[in-house]
Amino acid sequence: MGKFIAKRLFMLIPVVLGISFIVLLLLAITPGDPAKMMLGTQATPERIAALRDTLGLDDPILVRFVHFLGQIVQGDFGTSFMTKRPVFDEMITRMPYTLLLVSVSLGVSVVLGIPLGVYAATHHNTWKDNGAMFISLFFVSMPVFWFALLLVRFFGVELRWLPLSGIDTWQSWILPIVATSLGFVATIARQTRSNMLEVVRQDYIVTAKAKGLPERRVIYRHALKNALIPVIMVIGNMFGLLIGGALITEVIFGIPGLGQYTIAGLTGRDYPVIQGSVFILSVMFSLVILIVDVVFAIVDPRIRAQSGRNNSKKRKVGNQIEEDPQEIEA
């Protein structure tokens, strides 16, 4: 397993580098000039050209890429064009907000989504199942920004129960988290439900029943554990979407996180900010995918066998004869 993780961590490097290069390329070919934006519309062409030169904007792409890499290995992400503050410091102070928003939203989605899916599956074809699935279809289809605005309007403006914007108290987190997670609660619920319905038709579930196990144990120990394997995959993939959703929620609710920073960078053509944010976000995303794969391997012995074949085989052969059943603890 350790080797597997190390290998995957190593593979992360080309992925993140590739993404960084593509971002650089995209910024170069999209219209808009950061120097012009910094100096305002009154600036003379000479001043703009001079600034472009100091910022290194006229260098060839590859030179800029190498320069960027050189900075990154030193933990330096450059200075923001707009604020003149180091991008790295800015990201470090903003990171906790985004991490909190994303991880709590993910937690909420999992904690609510899975039981909801199991509930719908165990009440298959009843009004409870249909109701739960109809509501979740509704939330799956609703764009995050639209839902966030509805929440602000209803709970913030009309009822005045919760703060509109900013993050002064813990209550301020409620609306952003609800807005970010609700769609994913629904996604996980639907996925769990369909996997459960698939799994309960499997022969080994009949075997479990035929052993005389109580319904609850059949559902939670035998069916759910198997049904969750594909759900883990979905959760991993969701993470990217969740970050995307968080960017929007942060802007709408005025949360000073990475998302807000990224979007500000994008609108202001602040290249270092964009490059730095995308770099960090892609590292985060790749790490999550790695974690998902590890969890995958832990839960599913068939995958574990593929990732760590040699070690487990050796141990088995060695134990074959002298293994004492008393020692085999479950």
């Binding site: 005389g212 088995k316 059943p325």
Partner: protein
């Protein structure tokens, strides 16, 4: 009344599957008895309703779509179909256990085989985890698998070994009745014999009654004491192995065995009979075998024949059955 020596008695059992498109009449008012210590063979073509019968006994039909529309299943005088779920659970896997048709899919892929066997033991006997694990190891050894493989997962076993694990699981609590649903069909021919011989010796050791569902007449003649021939959800003939092999009374049984049915026949497989079983969603009014029967007459298609006992314990569902 419970007849002496009857472990299980099925009366007038009927099972239907209700799907969106149609109603499938899978089991149609069958009666059957299993005596203590006996091995009874259930033979019949695919789709005849054999698995449905076995699953009804254990109360593990998929409901919906399945529905038991009539009948009683008496196990030691207890009506299983009316038993509360709690009580039924104490019987499943403990008093009555089942081996499934396909060993490749019968085991939970993400639990160790040892866990799956020990789980059955812990469910029924109040023993510690350590004791349950020890007994699971014994069971593995009994079916010829080294106990060192306790912690292995199903994908690390071959098909034959998986079936051994399934058998170990089924026998873990010393059941009185074992429902073996084509235990060897999915296996290699060489493994088939091994698994059957192992089952036979375990059966003798543990004095378990067995309901053996199979397509293989050789297996029936070798392992069974009595036979029930299932056709289109009905039991068209039942009796001892000698009755069925030497004095078959139903044209379908005759057809299955070819022209010369003999106990020591070299022909092991069921003989294919011309034609097909009637559509289970639209069963004929008269005798179900009518369309394929070489002896069919007018009356056969008008009303179904009743079951008649042509000798003690040998019953046939045909108008042409020799009367006693």
């Amino acid at each position: 009344m419970e007849e002496q020596g009857n472990l299980l008695e099925i009366r007038d059992l009927a099972v239907e599957y209700h799907t969106d498109e149609a109603t499938i009449y899978a089991v149609n008012h069958i009666g059957l008895t299993v005596k203590k210590g006996e091995t009874i063979g259930l033979v019949g073509e695919t789709g005849a309703g054999k698995t449905s019968i076995a699953r009804s006994i254990l109360g593990i039909l998929p409901m919906p779509p399945a529905k038991i529309v009539s009948g009683e299943i008496l196990y030691r005088g207890n009506e299983l179909l009316r038993l509360p779920e709690r009580e039924m659970r104490k019987i499943r896997g403990n008093k009555i256990a089942m081996i499934f048709q396909d060993p490749m899919t019968a085991l939970n892929p993400i639990e160790t085989v040892g866990f799956q066997i020990a789980e059955t033991i812990r469910q029924h006997d109040s023993v510690s985890q350590v004791e349950a694990n020890r007994r699971a190891c014994d069971m593995l050894e009994m079916v010829g698998i080294a106990m060192g493989r306790f912690g292995d997962f199903p994908h690390q076993f071959s098909g034959g070994m998986k079936q051994r694990v399934v058998i170990a699981m089924a026998l873990a609590c010393n059941p009185e009745l074992l429902l073996a649903d084509e235990p060897t069909t999915a296996l290699d021919v060489t493994i088939q014999a091994q698994v059957l011989e192992m089952m036979q010796s375990l059966r003798e050791r543990l004095e378990t009654s067995v309901m053996l569902i199979t397509h293989d007449l050789g297996v029936v003649s070798e392992f069974c004491d009595s036979v029930a021939v299932v056709y289109a959800g009905e039991i068209v003939e039942r009796g001892t192995v000698e009755d069925i092999f030497d004095r078959p009374g139903h044209p379908y049984t005759l057809g299955l065995f070819g022209s010369l049915p003999r106990l020591d026949a070299t022909e092991r497989r069921l003989k294919p009979i011309k034609g097909r079983m009637p559509d289970p969603t639209n069963v004929p009014e008269g005798c179900r075998f009518c369309d394929r029967c070489p002896r069919a007459e007018d009356r056969c298609s008008k009303s179904p024949p009743a079951e008649s006992e042509i000798a003690p314990g040998h019953a046939v569902k045909c108008f042409f059955a020799p009367q006693r």
